[in-house]
């Protein structure tokens, strides 16, 4: 008995507790900063809880009333939250597709041993640079650039391309275009660096072998790079999507919270923010948060499934 116990202790030095100890900080941080707020948000979404002036109304339990209110069509028959979800997705997709394509191209150029681009560090730094500017400052810059009396309109008029100033903020296409352009500029560097890391992780022998076998560049890309890059690509797409669904700062500052024109550039989080600003409506904004959470979860699952599907 005693002997056996002794032996077991001698044989296996128990490292497990150190493992748990090392992952403990993450779980503590996750619990305090993510899990608790998340549960509280869900809890709050079932309450009527807002301020009118300085008068606090609630919190009173109202069940699913906030959710019902969100999905009730307004007088024109629009279910507003769906409209804003659509805006958010459109803004993300319009920005993310060019972002992925350009980032992929750049990543391939930078990692290609045949092209052997010089000054890589310099270019990597430059393309990452826009990400270092605060989104709000960047948006203010664009707002000023494209205003009716801004430099862009002055140039257009000076070159004779337009007689009257173009009101960039009066059209859905231009406002959305500007938002997508800004998101693209801010994030393509980040994506490029992630994808480069992914490509550099692929065994160079494979590329060499393919070249020896006479594969064309396109064949190399579709048969070797892309399949082996898939895990990183999925990670990139899903994180970009989570970020995209929470899009807030750029459109908020660019349109001064109005989501103009006709609320077509209002994202879900801007909508949430409308309820918080002034009336501190935690009930409704909690309900919107939960819906964003559900949408994010569903979309991530769909993207993950469709990209990892074995044929």
């Amino acid at each position: 008995m005693n002997e056996r116990k002794l032996r077991r202790n001698q044989n296996g030095v128990r490292y497990a507790k150190w493992g748990y100890l090392f992952i403990l900080p993450f779980f503590l941080a996750y619990f305090i900063f993510t899990f608790v707020p998340q549960v509280l948000t869900i809890y709050n979404s079932f309450f009527e809880n807002y301020r009118e002036g300085l008068k606090q109304v609630g919190p009173n339990f109202v069940g699913f009333r906030n959710y019902v209110a969100l999905f009730t069509p307004d007088k024109t028959g629009t279910i507003n939250i769906l409209k804003y979800a659509g805006n958010t997705l459109a803004l993300w997709v319009m920005g993310a597709i060019p972002q992925l394509v350009i980032a992929m191209l750049l990543a391939i150029f930078f990692t290609s041993y045949r092209l052997h681009i010089r000054g890589q560090q310099f270019f990597k730094t430059v393309i990452y640079m826009p990400n270092l500017i605060m989104a709000s400052a960047f948006s203010m810059l664009f707002f000023t650039l494209f205003s009716n009396v801004g430099p862009v309109n002055q140039l257009l008029q000076a070159w004779g391309l337009s007689d009257v100033p173009i009101d960039f903020f009066a059209y859905k296409g231009t406002v959305r275009g500007l938002i997508c352009l800004m998101n693209f500029l801010m994030w393509f560097g980040n994506t490029t660096i992630l994808l480069m890391a992914g490509i550099m992780g692929i065994d160079q022998d494979l590329f060499e072998a393919a070249n020896l076998d006479g594969a064309s560049s396109l064949q190399v890309f579709f048969k070797i790079t892309l399949p082996l890059l898939m895990p990183i690509l999925i990670y990139t797409i899903i994180t970009a999507m989570i970020g995209g669904l929470q899009m807030f700062d750029v459109p908020q500052v660019l349109t001064n919270g109005k989501g103009m024109p006709d609320r077509t550039s209002m994202t879900l989080v801007m909508y949430l923010n409308n309820y918080l600003g002034g009336s501190k409506n935690y009930g409704m904004s909690g309900a919107i948060s939960v819906i964003i959470f559900i949408i994010t979860g569903l979309l991530s699952m769909i993207v993950y499934r469709s990209l990892t599907k074995k044929d």
Binding site: F26, Y43, G53, D262, S289
Partner: protein, 451 residues
């Protein structure tokens, strides 16, 4: 050593992941529940000995701080603590509300002892238990203050809860040279006679257009002259949203002005409007009080491109005011007698009020002092080509009314202008713009019933 490194790494991980955890949270919503704190109890009477050593003032900019530091002598042993939060996106009111809601539980030195508020949202504080009667504190002399400034700081029962250190009658500010071209005169009295009703104003707008000028430089330029004269509030007794005839009249006028090119689609504070103030600007009329042309028309005062001296003021088609800073008395302050003294100084101390007019380009809230300047033939504003602005403002104040205001005013006025701007810019039709306004109202005030 290894253990130390391990500990360090673990700590780094905590911080790194804490940061990740936060940004990955599903939404930027903070889930804190703010409970209504019971309104602070009424402050102890002023005569009670032992006042607080720290006097906390909440403000949204440095303007009043400057006057306070120059003209008010702080009692010995008291430290004045300024809590200045810019008003962008309601940040000032958010900070102030938190402080007031927490007033009862705050330590004596952390209590709000005075706070500043603007006309647009003053009722939110005045019509609440978070402010207190200043007459009980010893501020009783309002005979020299302008009536509307006292009404604005009074609750429904007529209890005065604060004072304004300035009076802000808003004038029609016009370019003399353009008026000369359009109206054939630039003399304030004659210009006033030609622009003293909206019918005349609209007719002159057409003449100005014919000569290549804009009447105003923002679609919302005439909003306040109309909205200040409303005969009904934004909501009726059942909290239904209603449009006063004055608001509808503004909408009709603006519609005409935009269609005919008499004005621009810029907002009141937009750069597009501000460039019109330069010497080569094409706009005849602006509306604003003393603070507007002294501090917000920088382009007109530009030494190279400006046109200082080419301006004059008159009452215009409708008496109105714009802005103004009120000093309000929070319930529960631990410095009641100093609070009363500050208020009294800025409305009744002749020396201080005189200095405000002479040195600070303010129109003071003291009729006697203003009358002195109005009668002084040597007093005049350089910007206005030597015109005595105090005299014009003094004559205007009798016609200003403070009526039909609600705690909703600020956001509803802003919301309506923002929504209609899209219509004037041609993005949406008027019905859609109004629908968007109703959506905005529903988001901000769940209790208001929209059409």
């Amino acid at each position: 050593m290894k253990k130390l490194v391990a500990l360090l790494l673990a700590l780094v991980m905590v911080f790194a992941l804490a940061a990740c955890g936060q940004s990955a949270a599903p939404a930027a919503s903070t889930a804190t529940t703010t409970e209504a704190a019971a309104p602070a109890e009424d402050a102890a009477p002023a005569e009670e000995a032992g006042e607080g050593k720290v006097f906390n003032i909440y403000a949204w900019n440095e303007e009043f701080k400057g006057f306070f530091e120059k003209y008010y002598t702080v009692p010995e042993g008291v430290t004045v603590n300024w809590i200045i939060v810019p008003s962008d996106n309601g940040a000032y009111q958010d900070a102030l509300d938190e402080a007031l809601l927490n007033q009862a539980n705050a330590a004596a030195d952390d209590k709000v002892d005075m706070f500043l508020a603007e006309a647009d949202y003053i009722l939110k504080y005045v019509d609440s238990d978070f402010t207190q009667d200043v007459t009980a504190l010893g501020v009783n002399e309002f005979s020299n203050a302008y009536k509307y400034t006292v009404q604005a700081a009074s609750d429904e029962a007529g209890t005065v809860k604060g004072v304004s250190f300035q009076c802000c009658p808003s004038a029609l500010i016009y370019r003399r040279s353009i008026a000369e071209d359009v109206l054939g005169t630039s003399e304030p009295d004659e210009v006033q006679a030609l622009l003293d009703s909206w019918d005349k104003f609209n007719a002159v707008a057409a003449d100005a257009k014919a000569k290549g000028y804009y009447m105003t430089a923002s679609f919302a330029e005439t909003y306040r002259p109309f909205s200040n004269n409303c005969t009904s509030a934004w909501v009726d007794e059942d909290n239904n949203l209603q449009f006063d005839p004055q608001i509808t009249a503004w909408m009709e006028q603006t519609d005409e002005f935009i269609k005919n090119g008499y004005t621009l689609t810029a907002g009141v504070w937009d750069e597009e409007k501000n460039v019109q103030m330069f010497g080569d600007g094409k706009t005849m009329c602006f509306f604003g009080p003393a603070w507007y042309f002294n501090f917000c028309m920088g382009n007109a005062q530009d030494p190279d491109k400006g046109c200082s001296g080419d301006w004059a003021i008159c009452e215009g088609p409708a008496a109105h005011f714009w802005g103004g800073t009120w000093l309000l008395a929070p319930a529960g302050t631990d410095n009641p007698s100093m609070l009363a003294d500050v208020m009294d100084t800025f409305i009744n101390d002749e020396e201080v009020c005189t200095a405000l007019v002479a040195n600070e380009a303010q129109f003071s809230n003291n009729m006697a002092v203003n009358a002195k300047f109005a009668a002084d033939p040597d007093y005049g504003s350089e910007f206005l080509g030597g015109q005595n602005d105090v005299a014009v403002f003094s004559a205007m104040t009798d016609n200003i009314v403070w009526e039909n205001h609600t705690i909703y005013d600020q956001l509803l006025n802003e919301g309506l202008q923002n929504a209609l701007q899209e219509y004037y810019r041609g993005s949406v039709d008027q019905d859609t713009a109004l629908q968007n306004f109703y959506l905005y109202v529903n988001e901000k005030y769940p209790t208001i019933v929209t059409p």
